[in-house]
Subunit: 252 residues, 2 copies
């Protein structure tokens, strides 16, 4: 009873209710009591290092994972070492959702830098969500959001030009960093040019050339992975098709 209120340093770090990501993360919108119930099934392991796999395609689904710090790429490897990057994940984002269907992971996940995650054993989560309508609702919302995001990506890959793709990519990160309390205009990208190109359906060289061109046009300053966005409004017009300046839009 006495040490009920004595919270160790470690506990402060690890409880959902004390986590700065709570409003972006799975517990978003849960009542304090519900958050505590969720918290009771969450496991925090040791951090992953750059290049470590969080899981591999084909692995059994044990847990969904939430990034708490660092960043991760998910991708579908192909026989020959090639891959399709499916997404980049920042703190607060839930990964592994595509594994629920077959109880086995449909993609692989790799840490892009030193990365910490919360593990949420799926069977516990499912059981808990049965008795916690707010959690079930949150799961439905997160799954649905993922579907919506994929649809945007389909439009990007199906219809947008190379420069629209890169501008979209940069503004997406800008917004996501901002939501997490970081600068919207000055940040480091943890992935390589190769991974950016792979994700956007472009060759590395095209990505590199576009960075150079964007810099020449005064849209941004780039030095390796360090990006400073200098003209958000103009980047935004590029994202939305750039009606004026382009002679050829891709088939509508």
């Amino acid at each position: 009873m006495t040490n009920r209120n004595v919270v160790s340093f470690e506990n402060i770090k690890v409880a959902c209710k004390n986590c700065s990501l709570a409003t972006l993360c799975l517990p978003m919108g849960l009542s304090p009591e519900d958050m505590e119930r969720l918290d009771s099934i969450v496991k925090r392991g040791r951090p992953f290092h750059r290049g470590d796999h969080l899981f591999r395609e084909g692995d059994n689904l044990h847990s969904l994972r939430v990034i708490t710090s660092g960043s991760v790429k998910t991708f579908t490897p192909s026989e020959d070492g090639g891959e399709q990057v499916l997404s980049f994940h920042l703190p607060g984002e839930l990964i592994g959702l595509d594994a629920i269907q077959n109880e086995s992971h449909a993609c692989s996940a790799k840490a892009l830098e030193t990365t910490a995650v919360c593990e949420i054993p799926f069977h516990n989560l499912e059981e808990l969500s049965c008795n916690m309508p707010s959690l079930q609702h949150q799961m439905y919302r997160l799954l649905s959001r993922e579907i919506g995001q994929d649809s945007e990506m389909l439009t990007l890959l199906g219809k947008k030009s190379a420069e629209e793709r890169l501008a979209t990519f940069l503004l997406s990160f800008s917004e996501r960093f901002k939501k997490r309390g970081f600068s919207a205009t000055d940040f480091f990208l943890s992935m390589s040019r190769h991974e950016i190109g792979n994700y956007l359906g472009l060759a590395v060289e095209t990505v590199s050339r576009l960075f150079t061109r964007f810099q020449d046009e005064g849209l941004l300053h780039v030095e390796r992975k360090h990006i400073q966005l200098l003209d958000l409004p103009r980047l935004a017009t590029i994202v939305h098709g750039n009606e004026n300046g382009r002679s050829h839009q891709r088939h509508v």
Copy 2:
């Protein structure tokens, strides 16, 4: 008590347990009792005609919908009348899942031919799934499956050549028709060349040329919307990159 077992013609038609799609559809895997509970919230309206909207982007989410006959395309319209086709749906498939996040539809859906649907009011479904673990599980699986399918589509649009895209498209329909008890090699596509191209990220002309070429190569016979696949194995090798014959594969 006496007419408990007297089932009217209409009831036969409309009950999940008598529906030939039950094994492909939302009630898949539910016990007979659970299926009946699900059945109690399902509404069957009158059919849609070619070109009718099932819902429009921005509409409030009232119901998820399952196609029972016919076919549907979903798409995100853009200001100027252009659109990105997101998917084509056949009987047994659940649509509207991307609307859960914001309680409003993120895409529009249009009937490609005369189409009947079951409507499942989402709030009832959510409530029911709270008290029915098997239904909740099924919802998680279906949402997860959608995410997995979108990922495959990202690979298609990000990495595959025009001929790989069309071959993938055709084999996908072949398999889906087969699952529904139709011929895997002889079917009608309900969408236009334009819609196929839009979906696959290709110009109409390219789609048309590919159909002609595939026919010349003896892979299929095509006459307007009527497709006969003549060489499934060869189509399958095209899907998987066609290691032999292609000098240029897209950036890996």
